[in-house]
Symmetry: C2
Subunit: 174 residues, 2 copies
């Protein structure tokens, strides 16, 4: 977790202890430098889509129609957002979602961490939170499609590349 200290990670829907502005789940504080700053996770899918778009802009993703993003969030099995909370203000700093058949398989999409908050163990914390939530729903086969630059990141989290020769394949329209 780097210099982030995990305070709580087992409560199902813990509210931040100091105030009620955030209904989150896992809470991390910056130990030495800014004890008033917390990192929280939420599975609420009603996100401000403009805020999400800004986050995706910051990592250089191509913009997508908000109408389709709204539909995708609505029909994802799990939507996880990561927030920096300081006093009464909060900022969206990470996001990931998963589709699923609610029984066997889940596929993780759109994993993003604000570049300013990268390399601090927060992407790892976000993924661990997501995996824990999926495991809590009895999903045993968690899959994703990784860009070359993040394969090692996912490998360190326990994801396997092409197990038993199984290969990810893509079909795009002409």
């Amino acid at each position: 977790m780097g210099f982030w200290k995990k305070l709580l990670n087992n409560s199902a829907a813990a509210t931040a202890p100091q105030d009620n502005i955030f209904e989150g789940d896992m809470i991390i504080t910056k130990r030495e430098t800014a004890p008033e700053t917390r990192i929280c996770f939420s599975t609420q899918r009603e996100l401000d889509l403009y805020e999400l778009e800004e986050l995706c802009d910051r990592v250089g993703w191509a913009r997508r129609p908000l109408r389709k993003v709204r539909k995708a969030l609505q029909h994802s099995f799990l939507v996880v957002s990561m927030w920096e909370v300081r006093g009464k203000s909060k900022r969206l700093i990470g996001f990931a979602r998963a589709t699923s058949d609610h029984a066997f398989n889940a596929t993780i999409w759109d994993v993003v961490v604000d570049p300013e908050y990268q390399s601090k163990g927060l992407g790892k914390a976000l993924m661990k939170y997501l995996i824990k939530k999926l495991r809590g729903e009895d999903i045993s086969n968690i899959t994703l499609f990784a860009d070359p630059g993040v394969i090692d990141f996912y490998r360190r989290l326990g994801f396997m590349l092409d197990p038993e020769g199984i290969k990810g394949m893509f079909w795009y329209p002409d």
Copy 2:
């Protein structure tokens, strides 16, 4: 299509012309040998789970709890079954399903064709039907995880392996 002749493939929910026992979609007849035999596709998700289990048994898949199979079918975005229809009787000979966020991505799971009906172009027809249905829902990113033995099958259908180095990855519980 091998020796199967495609009669209809554009109607949204065409009923088999000779009788009403089957509400299917794409209909194929065996041209020379058995004109009374038709192959039909359906997207109805209320399948006889025992019949589906028998089909999966025939290809040697491990059995799965029917309660979970029912849940998976219910929460799949698309469920496609393939049937051989002779007069008043029908037999499940193929199956596939897809999870999706209903907007951008779909992932295909559990593609199976009865071994007796393999190598006749029917797996290809099943997949083409599935892709067409997904494209009709404006899904542009269709993905799957292919066992080594079927990579070429999917490649011939237009699926690409690791495009731009993107890799399929799996996480399983310990």
